[in-house]
């Protein structure tokens, strides 16, 4: 058990270590309000990372989610401006991202183009298309009920936390207990064995990319309702954050191995670093270097785990 989940455990230990240091260096970090803000602020990242976990699980990668995120946000804003309710606007944004995800899926599954090439192309093309369309303008003058979906701040925050928690719990449960997700594990572990067992890998790939789109859309929706305006260039670098979180959480980028609790730990670890540095009074300049070191540390740890059971 400990052997099998050694990667997740080491990520957990790293997180605990960081928190322990904070306990002494900056106890105010643990004020409930701060923790709540931390969770809400990273809800979108967690949702996107759930999708990325599934994609990486099947041995693929999606670096276009930042662009999808931006498009979903803007679509949502425009719909709301047209008078759609927040829920309807969110549905529209999710649908838009789902379509974009499905496009990736068709190219990966149907034509067999490597996913990194497909999503590199769609990342560049979509981001530029959006810029072309919006010319960098924000979507402003949204109805007052847009922010927090009309529930007020406390209600909205609760909504985000509940939704994120539910989605995570659902996927965490499903990843152990639902055949659909187990098929992802199987396909990622060995596409050929999957084929022989009667699974159709291309279909699996298509759905996983579309699912990534849906989750990206949801992430965009949860992020957007925290504000009263929609910015035009959201989500830059989201893909790298999500991939980093998944890998730090112990997933194997070659596919077949990833756990959602691991991803949660990865998101929490990476999300804690930034504020932790501020709390500890370290200035921001070294933050990126520290994040890079954490990713590399995870890589080193994974590699050592690998040689242990090889």
């Amino acid at each position: 058990m400990i052997q099998r989940y050694s990667r997740e455990i080491s990520t957990g230990v790293a997180l605990l270590g960081l928190l322990a240091v904070l306990l002494f260096a900056a106890p105010s970090f643990f004020r409930p309000a701060n923790l709540r803000e931390l969770l809400i602020g990273n809800a979108a990242l967690l949702i996107a990372a759930i999708g990325m976990t599934l994609v990486i699980l099947t041995g693929h990668i999606d670096i276009s989610i930042g662009s999808q995120f931006a498009i979903a946000s803007v679509v949502m804003g425009l719909l709301a401006k047209e008078g759609a309710s927040t829920a309807a606007a969110a549905a529209g944004g999710i649908a838009a991202a789902a379509v974009l995800g499905a496009m990736n899926g068709i190219l990966v599954a149907g034509l067999g183009i490597p996913s990194i090439v497909v999503t590199l192309a769609s990342m560049i093309a979509l981001r530029n298309a959006l810029r072309w369309a919006t010319e960098g303008k924000w979507v402003q003058d949204l109805p007052a009920t847009f922010q927090w979906a009309g529930l007020g701040q406390a209600g909205g925050e609760a909504l985000i936390l509940i939704l994120t928690g539910t989605v995570f719990a659902a996927f965490a449960w499903a990843s152990c207990n639902l055949q659909a997700i187990r098929l992802l594990y199987a396909t990622g572990s060995s596409p050929e064995a999957a084929r022989l067992a009667g699974i159709r890998p291309p279909r699996v790939f298509f759905f996983v990319f579309m699912g990534m789109g849906v989750l990206t859309g949801l992430a965009a929706a949860l992020n957007t309702i925290r504000f009263s305006e929609v910015q035009g260039n959201a989500g830059i670098g989201l893909e790298l954050q999500a991939i980093a979180a998944v890998v730090v959480g112990g997933a194997s980028i070659a596919g077949g191995r990833a756990t959602l609790p691991g991803t949660l730990l990865g998101v929490l670890l990476l999300a804690t670093i930034g504020p932790a540095l501020t709390f500890a009074g370290i200035n921001a300049f070294w933050e990126k270097a520290i994040q890079g070191s954490i990713i590399l540390a995870a890589v080193v740890m994974n590699a050592r785990g690998k040689s242990a059971h090889a």
């Binding site: 105010s28 004020r31 309000a33 701060n34 803000e37 602020g41 990668i61 190219l107 034509l111 067999g112 183009i113 490597p114 990194i116 090439v117 590199l120 192309a121 769609s122 990342m123 560049i124 093309a125 979509l126 530029n128 298309a129 810029r131 072309w132 919006t134 960098g136 303008k137 402003q140 925290r226 504000f227 305006e229 910015q231 260039n233 959201a234 830059i236 991939i243 980093a244 890998v247 980028i253 070659a254 504020p275 501020t278 709390f279 200035n283 921001a284 300049f285 990126k288 270097a289 520290i290 994040q291 890079g292 070191s293 990713i295 590399l296 890589v299 080193v300 590699a303 050592r304 690998k306």
Partner: protein, 656 residues
């Protein structure tokens, strides 16, 4: 096969742009295209080798940033000679590449993840070393000429360097024993090992070489822009990978060629260049690049799907053929260009002034930035009034190298007036001087270049003026004592760092009781500004003022203050009225400091036209500027006026 397709694509691009783009088909433009593809081209060559082994190097762009900084530190701080600094920097590049190689070969970790980690690490180190703020300029002319000058009168050194590098990489990859091994490793690492190829040593070589090439690119970049900054080369790795993959290098490893990569690079660069000269938006180039990539790879996959399992060993195009064909095309292009040059030039020059609408080209620092979007509205208003053709183009993100590229494009295109909001004054001044030498009127607006590189500067408020105004406003809100925090753009943003300098000076001078608690970056992202502000409020409960000094950061900070329910904290900063209106009315934002950006754009175009007409010339003390009335000219500065304070009382009068 792939090379043929790319050649066809290139021919198509050249054919289309020869018609749609002004002066596309000229020697000068060819030289500029070559100069601008220098850095990315170098990275793409190295990346081809990496990808052929089945790997990828995402850290190349970040390595450029780190190398640029270290080069600057060595030369400026350590006082080493340029030569020694270059040598040491190259060593660092090789070392950084070797570190990647070490992790990949010894730990058998996947290159994608390892280099994703070092992508953050190297960029982070560059930021850490400079604390984001410092940058290095003032390099000797002999060094700069390497990046900015011409050899033999028309050849940019980058072209020669890229050519030499291409030949070397071609020898290495396609002619040498080592290259054959690389390809074997890419097809089958195990198979290569069984054939007695030292897989680890070869992979180490490739990643080390990639790091080394990145350091060469960094030196070229610094020489080109005259400034070493930690953001050098941001995102270049993706362009390099795109070029290599478009050029037919298989992302699975094994196959690929240097000729293909060069063709891939050329088709992307020509696309950008041609679209710019055709006055099409730069975003279109991005969209088309993505589509091209899918189409090129997809076509290969598509034909594979519908082919028999049998492999046709038919039309394998040999490199010699590609080389011959490329040479023929380039020679033909030069020939046609040479003969056209006279014709086009005479056509352009002889067109009578009366029927020729003056062309004013305006460049923001970043096209998508709402600040500049509002400037553009004013510029367009003036252009309509005056009947001039307005070109509006610039980098989509803050990217000094891109600014040079756009100006080069305009020079080639032959515009009448250029007005630039300068991101990097060292870097752009060279091209601006070149534009002036070609008889183009040059203005700067929003941020200035070196004084001899432009005719006039449209001065909306000096950096010092802004810094002092902000400091005074902060002091007013704090009633002379207390602490405040700053949310800036990115840590390396030049303007913001300049303002910070003046704010700090003013505080030290006049308000000793005011303390600056923290400076946090927002990367120009509203959401990031939001969460940074949240953290600031938690960590520094005694901070009573948040000064956000990037347009999207102000509403982000204000939203964070609003959601925290802290009515004792006020937000101020530099931003646009429209973004901030709700928060100003809610009393969270006390004031937004800015000039009337719309008027800035308006005045810039007015001044450009006045210059074109000869009204604005050295010695005048004022010019008429449409609805702004007479505007003061002080020396070579056209004064818009002092910074403006948008407050609850006046903000509704503005719509931008």
């Amino acid at each position: 096969m792939r090379e043929w397709r790319l050649l066809a694509l290139l021919a198509l691009e050249i054919a289309v742009f020869s018609f749609t783009a002004l002066n596309f088909f000229t020697v000068g433009n060819a030289a500029e295209v070559a100069r601008l593809s220098g850095e990315v081209g170098l990275l793409a060559l190295a990346q081809t080798c990496v990808i052929i082994t089945g790997g990828i190097d995402l850290s190349a762009g970040s390595m450029m940033g780190l190398c640029a900084i270290v080069f600057g530190v060595l030369w400026h701080d350590a006082g080493l000679s340029i030569g020694l600094s270059i040598l040491a920097t190259l060593g660092l590049g090789a070392l950084g590449g070797f570190f990647n190689a070490f992790l990949i070969t010894r730990l058998r970790a996947l290159p994608l993840i390892v280099t994703l980690g070092t992508l953050s690490l190297y960029r982070g180190m560059a930021e850490g070393i400079t604390e984001g703020v410092r940058n290095f300029s003032g390099f000797p002319q002999s060094f700069l000429s390497f990046g900015q000058g011409f050899w033999f009168g028309f050849l940019p050194p980058q072209a020669i360097l890229l050519g030499v590098a291409a030949v070397l990489f071609w020898l290495l990859l396609q002619r040498s024993v080592i290259g054959r091994g690389l390809s074997a490793i890419g097809y089958s690492p195990e198979g290569a090992r069984y054939a007695g190829i030292p897989v680890r040593a070869r992979l180490s070589l490739v990643y080390t070489l990639s790091g080394l090439t990145a350091s060469v690119a960094a030196i070229v970049y610094v020489a080109h822009l005259g400034q070493a900054k930690s953001d050098a080369g941001t995102g270049y790795e993706l362009m390099a990978i795109t070029a290599a993959v478009l050029g037919g290098t298989s992302i699975f490893g094994g196959s690929g060629s240097i000729a293909g990569t060069l063709l891939g690079l050329l088709s992307i660069v020509l696309l950008q260049n041609g679209l710019r000269l055709s006055d099409k938006p730069a975003e279109l180039a991005g969209v088309l690049t993505g589509v091209l990539l899918i189409a090129a790879i997809g076509m290969g996959q598509f034909s594979k799907l519908f082919k028999d399992e049998r492999i046709t060993d038919g039309i394998e195009m040999k490199n010699s053929q590609v080389a011959v064909l490329s040479t023929v095309i380039i020679a033909a292009a030069l020939l046609v260009a040479g003969s056209n040059w006279w014709m086009v030039r005479s056509l352009v020059r002889e067109s009578p002034r009366g029927t020729h609408k003056p062309v004013v080209a305006l460049m923001p620092k970043a096209k998508g930035d709402p600040y500049f979007v509002s400037c553009r509205q004013g510029a367009e208003e003036a252009a309509r009034e005056l009947g001039v053709d307005l070109l509006w183009d610039g980098p989509t993100d803050l990217d000094p190298a891109k600014q040079n590229e756009v100006v080069e494009g305009w020079i080639t295109r032959g515009v009448d007036t250029i007005a630039v909001s300068v991101e990097n004054s060292e870097g752009i001044s060279t091209v601006l001087r070149k534009a002036r030498a070609k008889g183009i009127k040059v203005l700067t607006w929003d941020a200035d270049a070196q004084a001899d590189a432009r005719d006039f500067f449209i001065n909306q408020a000096t950096q010092q003026g802004i810094g002092y105004a902000l400091a005074d406003e902060i002091a007013r809100l704090l009633h002379g004592q207390g602490s405040f925090a700053v949310v800036t753009a990115s840590l390396s943003a030049a303007n913001q760092n300049e303002w910070m300098k003046h704010i700090k000076a003013r505080l030290a001078d006049k308000y000793p009781k005011i303390k600056l608690a923290a400076i946090r970056p927002s990367d120009g992202d509203r959401d990031r500004a939001f969460s940074e502000t949240q953290t600031i409020l938690r960590v520094y409960p005694d901070v009573k003022v948040i000064a956000a000094i990037a347009a999207p950061a102000v509403p982000g900070a204000a939203e964070a203050v609003k959601q925290s329910g802290r009515s004792d904290v006020k937000v101020t900063g530099l931003s646009l009225p429209n973004m901030c209106k709700p928060y100003v009315h809610a009393g969270i934002i006390e004031s937004v400091v800015l000039w009337k950006t719309r008027d800035l754009g308006y005045l810039t175009v007015q001044a450009a036209k006045a210059m074109y007409d000869g009204v604005l010339r050295p010695g005048v003390t004022s010019i008429p500027a449409g609805r702004l009335g007479n505007v003061e000219v002080r020396g070579d500065n056209v004064m818009l006026g002092a910074p403006f304070f948008f407050t609850k009382q006046n903000i509704d009068q503005f719509d931008f």
